[in-house]
């Protein structure tokens, strides 16, 4: 009985940890705290950011966040919603919607973005980190136009 309760509490705690991890990730991107952003990822993580490229390993992901992202964007607000998280021992899968408002440096262009995340997580030494992050854009549209007139700005 006690062991079963323990197992159930741990799953609930793990779900909360993963939700917090994802929230902090978006918050840290918007604050441009790149070292904290990278803390989201495992060393052997892989990412697929759709039109923004695929990167393997933390070094390549670091390069993207520190070198590619900052010159291209002057403002971003990442808001994640509707998490569905399944935990199995030290592994987990998480699905979120992301809603984003951002400004691209080129043309000082405001954009609305909507994304579906499908992530995998791994718990090592008691800490959850993202093993893989898959981004699917529903739209990334200039503010003045909207997803009907221009679904993808890039």
């Amino acid at each position: 009985m006690e062991k079963d309760l323990e197992r159930r509490i741990t799953i609930l705690e793990d779900i909360e940890e993963i939700k917090k991890l994802k929230s902090r990730y978006g918050y840290n991107i918007d604050e441009r705290d790149w070292d904290s952003v990278l803390d989201f990822y495992a060393e052997d993580a892989t990412v697929d950011f759709g039109v923004f490229g695929k990167y393997e390993g933390k070094e390549a992901i670091e390069k993207f966040f520190k070198e590619a992202f900052p010159p291209a964007t002057t403002f971003s607000m990442h808001m994640s919603q509707d998490p569905i998280i399944e935990v199995k021992g030290n592994r987990a899968k998480g699905k979120w919607y992301l809603h984003e408002s951002a400004t691209f440096t080129e043309g000082n262009q405001a954009v609305w973005g909507a994304v579906k995340y499908e992530d995998e997580f791994v718990k090592r030494k008691g800490k959850w980190r993202c093993k893989s992050c898959l981004v699917n854009f529903l739209y990334l549209t200039p503010y003045e136009e909207g997803w009907v007139k221009k679904k993808m700005i890039v």
């Binding site: 309760l5 609930l12 919603q81 569905i84 009907v148």
Partner: protein, 159 residues
Amino acid sequence: MDRSLEDRIGMLEDIEEIKKLKAGYLYSIDDRDWDNVLGCFAEDARVDYGPWGRYEGKKEIEKFFKETIPPLYSLHHHVTHDPFIEVDGKKAKGRWNLEEAATIIKGNKAIWISGRYDDEYVKEKTGWKYKSISVTFFYVTPYEEGWAKKRMIEAEDLG
């Protein structure tokens, strides 16, 4: 002591399951997986979708999703915020804020929707299901205009 812990854990699990029910329902609508959408409802569920109508029982709800929605819309993207969930045994209530991006096929028109869900849930053998959904809309506005210029699009323009 154990029984009390059991009850407390059970409630937290129920809340998480209801959040997953809501998220799964919306992903399934947006992916047009109508069978999955229907799987979220109790047999005697009833829904009030405001300007989109009221439906009672799973059969009517099925007809709405499979026959009414697809010819009207080419895109919908529902996101929810700020869940407020209260569980009482095998019943529960939930309130959420909703934001939605959608495209009406007629006129290829982008619209923003904002509203509030007031839900009732029932715990069945296969898990939590919707007993009722009621949506109050704050705005259904053309993308180019916004809620200050046009808060509610005309009914005939909904599609």
